[in-house]
Symmetry: D2
Subunit: 317 residues, 4 copies
């Protein structure tokens, strides 16, 4: 397990935050933030416009929309309909960019990625279970024809998810895929409170260090919108960040004592080496989750499937 | 719901039994029965050799092997390994007929049909969950490369199972499919005690009156072995059979009374009409299951997946 | 298994229906029916006022309220809030009869009877899981202090449910118990569409032929309100009723033919004997359920727990 | 959340390890270690013999037996029967100390503590589900009469677990309780690999900072044997330990540089303060688990229930 905090996140927002603030700008990357006063939902749109931006961010070109809603972490009578509505609105926006607004008969395959037997990874499968499936019932949700699949993970199937989906896409020819997955974040504050939406597809398992074939327009032949919610933080990341904060505090407290400089020098390369040596045998492939993860994942899956159901109902007559 | 007792069974054995015994023979249909003394497992092989036999039986040409093991219905420390072993032996026999014995690198996709959210229908999904998947780990089980998929049912996916499987087969090209499904039987005595094995594929949902595209070599391009275990009896069937038995009893008791003849005449057309009229609004689409169906299905799924695991280990060096 | 259709139901309503209509009256038994036009919910109140009525009905003295809502069997966005509200209203009525309206600090222990591992029997455990528990958080729902327990069934615990509850009642002294249980009905039309409410307690498992210590004020020392929903019909019952209907039809069709009288004579004793002989080896301890029982039980448990949550919120200030 | 590493463990073994090694002895505490060569299981017995030892260890007087089996963390065909057997042997030893060897009719109530809806906390409930319950079937396992209960946690019941159990004990009068619970450990290496057995009862939730009434002979009136397996580590603990190790490494690397001394001084009070300040808003009430926790807990629950089943079979004739 390589402890590289830069890749220890599936969130474009966190990747963006890991850059020095120098004027707040990265060439080729647009950043737009809004906050809905009533609901407290903060929406950040990161647009990676060219290869330079893609290289700097370590993410493919495209749109990355993040909905931050601290309320999501709390129980709610129901499932936070206000967030489902915000999600539906952003989804509809992405559909529009793909030119699907006017079309009738747009067919969408929704994919629940992840392992339904592992609580923190079951968000995608659960969300697809709650979806209104309509491909088999003609004309039910206006212009949309929804199908759904829970392909399982490689350890369960022996097949790459990309292989399974490619086969299904070629046989049922949807116009687009929406894939839903549980993500790994860097910050525990993001667990269960952030929804990321992107039109660039997804690399299953990338946040936790497993590399699989990317699910995207290049590999599957149709546009792939990905919806992700962080449900775990790698234990390594959490320790790394705490030590980082510790060193920062030491620097300030010891400033002017000679010690401050020495600690300051320690950051970077050496700090990284020390932590890696100490961490590897200690936390291994461990993950940090809130204790109520079972309940959180169930509730989140409703919020997302309801967001999708709302977006699909909103089809033009 | 059409109450036709002849199609109210997925078991070739029961279809065979519904014929008059006239000499015990149906042209084009071979019947072979053995019983293992030690384990009490009774194995019946029905071979439908030509179209005439196929028409008479209402089933496609091919081999139908039935393992009857009353012990299966009872709890066991473990999962009835003796039955897993018998299943593995019969499976290996079918593999041999397909010419897979000598091959190395034979690749098998195991499909868990049914709805994992409906207890009586979750046998297939559970069995695939317990399987040793090896396609992603080269050379683990000798000549066999096992992959697995739980495609879901049409109400969950909006897609025909045949579409999903055809796509996956074309993308991952297995040499053969093994599909596992919960079946409908006619007799409650068969619930959870009978395993049917056939090399003719399967018609998902046929036993309970849903018609879907058949999963077979014609539709999928590779041989399809089907493993089925009855977990439900249609409520209509159970009433039909009881009334049948009731009429039979009446005939005998009233023989020579004039009444006997009248009742005798009632059988056939009229009896069928009466029952249909009375039943339809009464039992509708109801199913009969043992109360411990949850536990039974779990245990059976182990017996079957372990049978498969054993068969796959037995690959020639 | 004794096939006595008179006891094959947990519903007072069905017990009532099994009596000849002679003027519609049974001494000591009051019957009151209303139907809410808007929601289509039919409410029947059977009051057994004295021992004569109790004997005639085969049920203890007390109030039996039945809510029939055919809509309950159908999926609903949410969980049929209109039925939860009707349930809350009737519950509040029973509370009032017990004199709890004015009290503050009324403490209620809600008990989820049944086996959470058996789908058709998991209604009680699921309903308690969704309840707002407040006994540990002082003053949360006005005058009510709610605690909950899922005691399990005897096969799981080795103890009578009455023993477990008596112990807990003596240690935590609630003012009353509300027990929730899945019931057996006679008619498949009642599966998942009827809620029975009674202040006479409950005999766990009585509908399916298991006799356990009754849970009631006599055995537990505090009033016991029982809420039950039929989720299974015994297979024996369904066959019995169909044969009954068949004989009825035959009688009419053959009236005046001499045959009619013979069939008519057959009913009663002889019919019962015939059916018993034929059924016993055939359907044994089998149960009839709708195929979507898993989903139905989940949805019903929400309807009920939400009805309770509403009733508990309505405490006087 | 108070970050006190000394109480952040439910394991007596870890409490023992947190003491300086000075001669390896703590007054009033006996330590005995053995290792089974064949199975690789290491058994440590800590006996706290008097109040002085109890105070030093922060644990009540009594026997603490720890089985360490690194193999437990790995999948096994079955459930690691060798560990079930070792557990049964130690349990029988504790029974003997209680004087139960010769008795016939010894009655044991097995309690599955924890929340069955929270994966990492569901070990106890799952283990009780797999147990052979015999109290309701006289004379099944020789001298033992086994009953079982899954009382739920306070958030589910609104009652103290001690209240529920006290009531049941008073009503069904078992001779002893065996309580099974998921524990919190300090070291991730212990997750799912260590079983602790003690005759001193248990404080539910103590390892994660919730204080509830202790379950012990004092509170319940009968001896209480507790079986625990660590399934989580508090995230705070893991960071604390890593920083500790980091400081240790820094001390050594910088020894003789003047810097070494300064870092060395930093340990203790100040280090603790720094970490607390930095950690609190960062990891909050987070827990570290292996990703395959769902599978691990299921397998462990079998190992434990099978250990109990073996111990109960071994009753003297």
């Amino acid at each position: 397990m390589k402890i590289d905090p830069k890749i220890r996140t599936d969130l474009a927002l966190e990747a963006r935050e890991s850059f020095p603030e120098e004027g707040g700008e990265i060439p080729g990357v647009l950043l737009e933030e809004t906050e809905e006063e009533e609901t407290g939902i903060r929406i950040t749109k990161v647009t990676i416009r060219n290869q330079k931006g893609a290289k700097a961010m370590g993410k493919p070109m495209g749109n990355y929309i993040t909905l931050e809603a601290p309320a999501l972490a709390e129980p709610d009578e129901g499932y936070h309909r206000e967030i489902s509505e915000a999600l539906a609105k952003e989804l509809t926006g992405l559909f529009k960019e793909q030119g699907w607004e006017e079309e009738t008969g747009c067919s969408i395959l929704v994919v629940g990625l992840g392992n339904s037997e592992v609580t923190s990874d079951s968000l995608g499968p659960l969300a697809v279970n709650n979806l209104h499936i309509t491909r088999n019932i003609s004309g039910e949700t206006g212009g949309y024809e929804i199908s759904g699949i829970v392909p399982g993970v490689m350890a369960q199937t022996g097949m790459e998810t990309a292989e399974i989906l490619k086969g299904i896409v070629e046989e049922t020819y949807p116009d687009c895929l929406i894939v839903i997955d549980a993500l790994a974040a860097r910050s525990v504050a993001r667990l269960g409170t952030t929804i990321q939406l992107t039109d660039t597809g997804i690399q299953p398992g990338s946040g936790i260090g497993n590399y699989r074939s990317r699910l995207s327009e290049e590999t599957l032949g149709v546009p792939v919108i990905a919806i992700g919610v962080p449900t775990v933080v790698s234990a390594a990341t959490i320790v790394y960040d705490t030590v980082d904060a510790l060193v920062e505090t030491l620097k300030q407290e010891m400033a002017g004592s000679g010690m401050g400089e020495m600690v300051a020098e320690m950051s970077g390369e050496e700090k990284y080496r020390l932590i890696t040596e100490i961490l590897e045998p200690r936390v291994g492939p461990m993950f940090v989750t809130p204790k109520n993860i079972d309940e959180t994942v169930k509730r989140l899956s409703y919020t997302i499937s309801e967001g999708l159901n709302l977006a699909f109902q909103g089809a033009p007559a």
